[in-house]
């Protein structure tokens, strides 16, 4: 079942990221398979976004190797590349936890900016474009066709000429995915794409992500707290806690993994055995108890189903959530 290790799109090996004395990620290794959705989950402050920032070049990792392998055999060592080169050459696209659209530009313009490098080359690095070369006009029309395709895919064709900042939240999330896809990526990194979406919207998101995986042969790396999304669509789940990998496997394996349950629910020192035995992540998912993003501290959702034995519903000893300042 470990088919992601045979021919992985992305190999992360011994990745360590330290911010001063704080080790945000410690010796993390995992693979993300081709044409697979790999979910990166873990409680708040587990270091998921830091992993993303290392993969997309926004942080330079302290130690470790991140290798991207294209199907045609080209290999890129991402830890050595600049962030924009990673998108340009290694073809990794990403979205952000707090949406970063060009809110004063229209939807169409947002998607056109994403095709900057292709259009730049077509415009002869602006010189041909100034004199209105036919080559550039053709390239621009192709780019617009591509924008239309993705706008249609995310159901935003009607609003193509509206400002991105005018869109409702869910639509902004979808637009950000469409924009990332317009850069022709091999690997798509989505940072909490379902955050703030209602159930119907996250259902649509699931369909969109599956279609991206199947119709475009993409590898997707996903950070998500919404268990219905994670369990519903991912082929492979990696669980992080305090910057370390605690589990790695298929959704079914993860659902029953004692270490995951411990990390999500927490246990009191002397009730270790009890807690592990009685509540499973699967139960939480069934109860619709997703651990949501933006919960300031690690809290345990109330378990309404009455467990047979007293479970550690008290919160874990709170360690300070690793705060990673955004890149300035």
């Amino acid at each position: 079942m470990m088919n992601w290790t045979k021919d992985p799109e992305l190999q992360v090996q011994h990745l360590t990221m330290r911010f001063g004395g704080l080790t945000a990620i410690g010796d993390l290794s995992f693979d993300a398979g081709r044409k697979q959705i790999t979910a990166l989950i873990g409680p708040n402050g587990a270091g998921k976004t830091t992993v993303f920032n290392c993969i997309t070049g926004f942080y330079k990792p302290t130690e470790g190797m991140i290798k991207l392998r294209h199907p045609d055999g080209k290999e890129f060592l991402l830890e050595r590349m600049d962030d924009f080169i990673i998108t340009q050459k290694a073809k990794v696209a990403r979205t952000f936890q707090n949406i970063r659209l060009f809110s004063g530009m229209t939807l169409l313009e947002n998607l056109m900016v994403a095709q900057h490098n292709t259009l730049m080359r077509a415009s002869g690095f602006t010189i041909g474009g100034i004199f209105g070369s036919g080559h550039f006009k053709r390239a621009e029309n192709e780019a617009i066709e591509k924008c239309k395709y993705w706008l249609n895919k995310v159901n935003l064709t009607e609003r193509a000429d509206d400002a991105a900042g005018d869109l409702p939240y869910g639509a902004q999330r979808r637009l950000e995915i469409a924009r990332a896809m317009c850069t022709n990526p091999r690997l798509l990194c989505l940072d909490e794409p379902a955050a703030g979406l209602n159930p119907r919207e996250s259902d649509e998101l699931n369909k969109l992500l599956l279609s991206i995986r199947d119709d475009h042969n993409m590898a997707i790396l996903l950070i998500e707290h919404d268990m219905s999304v994670v369990m519903g669509i991912s082929d492979h789940i990696v669980v992080l806690d305090y910057g370390r990998k605690i589990a790695d496997g298929t959704p079914n394996e993860i659902k029953n993994d004692p270490a995951v349950i411990r990390a999500y629910l927490g246990v009191e020192e002397d009730e270790n055995e009890v807690a592990v035995g009685s509540v499973k992540v699967a139960d939480l998912v069934n109860e619709g108890l997703a651990v949501h993003a933006n919960v300031p501290t690690r809290t345990v959702p109330k378990v309404s189903a009455s467990p047979k034995k007293p479970v550690a519903t008290k919160t874990v000893v709170k360690k300070p959530a690793a705060k990673k300042g955004g890149r300035k």
């Binding site: 924009f84 340009q88 060009f102 809110s103 004063g104 313009e109 900016v113 490098n117």
Partner: protein
């Protein structure tokens, strides 16, 4: 959006400004004004030696009509049809208005201004006494419009606050001065001198662009206040080098340079001059009219090139950079080269304008390139509405025109304490105007952003959504 208009449109439709209604209103205004003005202004009775005669002043009547129509247009666009300040209606009405408003801008104002600018020297013939001063003022304003359009690339599009723009203006001016007085005679002999301006112009632009890149490098990593302070320092540095490098720049004494020629024919009352060649009476006005058309051409080149650049990938990348730099990098855009091209292209137009400025004055000195010039150009860009090219025309006319207006205000002497000149109050008035502007139109004259590409319908983007840039 589709349901909402039905609820409110009945009351708001009448208020919404459509282009056809606007044109009708302006034409009827013009007709009424003319009907009133023709008897009152156009025909003046003069009593002289027992006879009453009529002096026809149609030019003045037309000029006044123009002012009335222009003011009414201004009121329509900026005062009467302001969107209500709050409530759900406001977004709706501004949505309705924005379409017609942008149509007005693109369809009528820009071509109207262009025609007016092309015919402007003809209008001045109605006022033979003023003409030289009016033409000179127009040239002066056009220089600032061009500088505003150049700086707009850096500040308005790329969102990089540049307080040292005058440095590139100085580089352009000194490039012309030094090349035409020192180096061209050395290299090519004095025969080249009448052509100096035309040869130096591209060189000055290139030099300024080079300096734009050189000064751009150190500030790449800076943002906001830090960027502003460093660019301010660079602006002052260039001026101080010009003052102190005596052997090269002649220091504060400045350099006298040859004035612009009509493609090799100088404007003088002498054989071989422009008037001599065409066999017409020598008149200084020819020089001013020629200057006017040269700067108009340069300004229009700036306008069309920047307008075009905005629609190219590089221009879109500039605007994306203003909106969100991190998102830009995540899309594979090299922000370093994007910023440097913005600096270089902005600087290049500054260099062209500087070169023209030197050829117009016939003299350059570091005094012309003080910090206040940078501040004025920035004020023009900000007042015009960040990123808007037409807004810059209005704000340049408003700011530079009002400076000159103060020279004319002799009647103010009655009010002011004796011994003070109205001209001394001009900065005070500009400051007051700025404060009022900040209070009532904080995003400048034009607060809408025109999209560069559209699928079905061109909808302007409200200024509230457009980012101001990182500094």
């Amino acid at each position: 959006m589709s349901v909402a208009p039905k609820n409110n449109s009945s009351s708001d439709d009448s208020k919404a400004l459509t282009t056809s209604a606007l044109t009708k209103d302006l034409i009827s205004t013009a007709i009424i004004t003319l009907l009133v003005l023709i008897p009152i202004v156009a025909m003046k009775t003069v009593i002289g030696q027992g006879i009453i005669s009529i002096v026809y002043r149609f030019g003045m009547a037309f000029a006044l009509t123009g002012i009335v129509v222009g003011t009414r247009l201004f009121l329509h666009l900026f005062v009467w049809h302001k969107a209500p300040s709050a409530g759900s209606k406001s977004t709706l009405t501004s949505g309705l208005k924005s379409v017609s408003f942008s149509e007005t801008i693109t369809k009528y104002i820009a071509p109207g201004l262009l025609i007016f600018a092309l015919l402007f020297p003809v209008f001045t013939f109605f006022h033979p006494i003023w003409d030289k001063r009016v033409m000179d003022l127009a040239v002066y304003i056009l220089i600032y419009i061009m500088l505003g359009w150049g700086l707009n690339v850096v500040v308005g599009l790329a969102g990089l606050l540049d307080l040292g723009y005058v440095a590139f203006y100085a580089v352009g001016a000194y490039a012309y001065a030094l090349l035409s007085t020192v180096y061209f005679p050395q290299w090519f002999g004095t025969g080249i001198l009448p052509w100096a301006f035309y040869i130096t112009l591209p060189v000055a632009g290139l030099l300024a662009a080079t300096w734009g890149v050189v000064l751009g490098f150190p500030v790449l990593r800076l943002r906001g206040d830090y960027l502003a302070i460093v660019t301010l320092a660079f602006g002052e540095m260039i001026r101080l080098v010009l003052v102190n490098w005596f052997s090269f720049t002649n220091g504060p004494q400045g350099i006298s340079v040859p004035k612009i020629t009509f493609f090799g024919l100088p404007f003088k009352d002498a054989p071989g001059s422009f008037s001599d060649f065409f066999g017409i009476q020598f008149n200084r006005i020819h020089f001013y009219i020629f200057l006017y058309y040269v700067i108009l051409t340069l300004a229009l080149i700036t306008y069309f090139v920047t307008k075009r650049l905005r629609r190219l990938p590089i221009g879109r990348a500039w605007e994306a950079l203003r909106e969100d730099e991190i998102a830009c990098r995540s899309l594979g855009i090299n922000t370093t080269t994007t910023k440097l091209t913005a600096f270089a292209i902005g600087a290049m137009f500054g260099g062209f304008a500087g070169s023209f400025f030197a050829a117009r004055q016939g003299f350059v000195s570091p005094e012309s390139f003080v910090y206040i010039e940078s501040a004025l150009i920035l004020a023009i860009v900000v007042l015009g509405g960040l990123g808007s090219q037409i807004g810059i025309v209005f704000s340049a006319i408003a700011i530079m025109g009002s400076f000159e207006l103060f020279r004319e205000m002799d009647f103010m002497k009655v009010v002011l304490p004796s011994g003070t000149e109205p001209i001394q109050f001009r900065m005070l008035a500009v400051g007051l105007a700025m404060v009022l502007m900040m209070r009532f139109r904080p995003r400048g004259f034009v607060t809408k952003r025109e999209p560069t590409v559209f699928l079905k319908e061109k909808k302007s983007v409200s200024g509230d959504l457009v980012a101001e840039g990182h500094g």
